[in-house]
Symmetry: C2
Subunit: 263 residues, 2 copies
């Protein structure tokens, strides 16, 4: 099943997506819902971010080839993480499929994509074992952890490197019934392949992350756990580009890129 969140004539609702048709839900996939007979053409609806997370978790480093690439590129010496320590991002920065990433006018760059699998929590949960962990997941969506590398290096925290307005495209839909450890994520910039990896290369599994978070924190419906990216994240994004993150069951998360003008 594929869920999306939509706006139509000022109303916001969840829908079940089949091909280019959407059936409105009464209720939400995070609680109870019924699939109604109200149907829409997908193209007639405004697509929203599939959920607004109360807590936005993000695995910074979860694939070896990405860490090795980043070290080569920056001359850095980041070690492989020994533990699944989770980071945070800002819900502020989320944009939906089809919206525009705005690079701040004063960004030295490069600004790069990071295509990621995102687990969407569906049920309140605490203290889950790894074997129970996926029971609280509603489904999976895609995220683009857009990153301003100069600020990532200069600043003491990741605030503007990762969380500028528009820096967190997420969507298009939440797909249920997937094995998060066996998906192929691919990235294109201006239609040209810019990376592809399998989620079976995660250093710490989705199960492990979710179980570990739940030992200390209650997971809530709508919370999201971004699971990291693999490989290189080039070419850098420039004004006028289009960047796509894709997985065949979830769909394509596409974003245009612009650069704000100096004022």
């Amino acid at each position: 099943m594929k869920f999306g969140r939509f706006e139509h004539q000022g109303r916001v609702f969840f829908g079940a997506v089949e091909g280019d048709r959407v059936s409105e839900l009464e209720g939400t996939p995070f609680d109870r819902y019924e699939v109604t007979r109200k149907r829409h053409a997908l193209s007639a609806l405004k697509l929203l971010v599939p959920c607004m997370p109360g807590n936005f978790y993000c695995a910074g480093l979860n694939y070896a080839a990405h860490i090795e690439w980043a070290n080569r590129r920056t001359g850095g010496n980041r070690k492989m993480p020994e533990k699944a320590d989770i980071g945070y991002r800002s819900a502020n920065a989320l944009i939906a499929h089809g919206e525009t990433i705005v690079i701040p006018a004063d960004s030295p760059g490069p600004v790069e994509f990071e295509g990621e699998l995102v687990a969407v929590i569906g049920k309140k949960a605490r203290n889950l074992s790894e074997s129970e962990a996926l029971d609280c997941v509603l489904g999976y969506t895609l995220g683009n952890d857009v990153s301003e590398r100069a600020w990532q290096k200069q600043d003491r925290t990741l605030w503007r490197a990762k969380n500028c307005d528009t820096f967190k495209p997420m969507g298009p839909f939440i797909a249920t019934g997937l094995d998060p450890m066996n998906l192929t994520i691919s990235i294109k910039v201006n239609g040209r392949p810019a990376g592809e990896y399998s989620t079976d290369k995660m250093l710490f599994s989705a199960q492990h992350y979710i179980s570990r978070i739940s030992k200390y924190m209650t997971l809530w419906p709508g919370d999201v756990v971004w699971l990291g990216t693999d490989g290189a994240t080039e070419p850098a994004l420039e004004d006028g580009d289009t960047v796509e993150v894709a997985q065949k069951d979830i769909g394509v998360l596409s974003s245009r890129v612009t650069r704000a003008k100096l004022r």
Copy 2:
């Protein structure tokens, strides 16, 4: 004026607090409101966290004496920050005045308080100058940035060091009309003074932080900016303790402390 958020007989509402009386608001202080004639005894209401922030910003290091103390204590060598780089905390961890901080069973400790002034954003804002910055602030409340120091040292991120369930007491009320740069914050543990400082010692002012955040991120009603703590943060919190953060216009944010049992 002092605003609080309350629950009574299953209803949640904002109120204007005067002494031990609360007048219900119709609407919210983040939008339009009217003070109604529905009055309650403060003691008859359940006090909630004064707002649930969409974005939870936190200045990690904003007072010299706290950084110097932490360096002496840990043998560390943290420099004074050169820029106001903001961090994030999890809304998940918020608890109201009067609720209980639960130290996880496996915490090596010490677990310490950090009493902080908190700016509560009242209006959507972007690109504010420092002289405009406080215009978007509804008022100020208090926060206790409870910190597990072993995890703060061990982990790659601050996730469980700072964001375990119950680790972020905030409240009791939002007071308007204060000068954030001239307030005295005091902390008590079990009734004994454990620290007092003036917010005029901030390395980067509330105005500077808010202006700087707003250059890259839209501030939204209900967002909070925790402004850091000064000085030592001892004694460590133990099972059975009570910790209070106080400022005379905002009130006293009090929390009991327990330790979870090993299971």
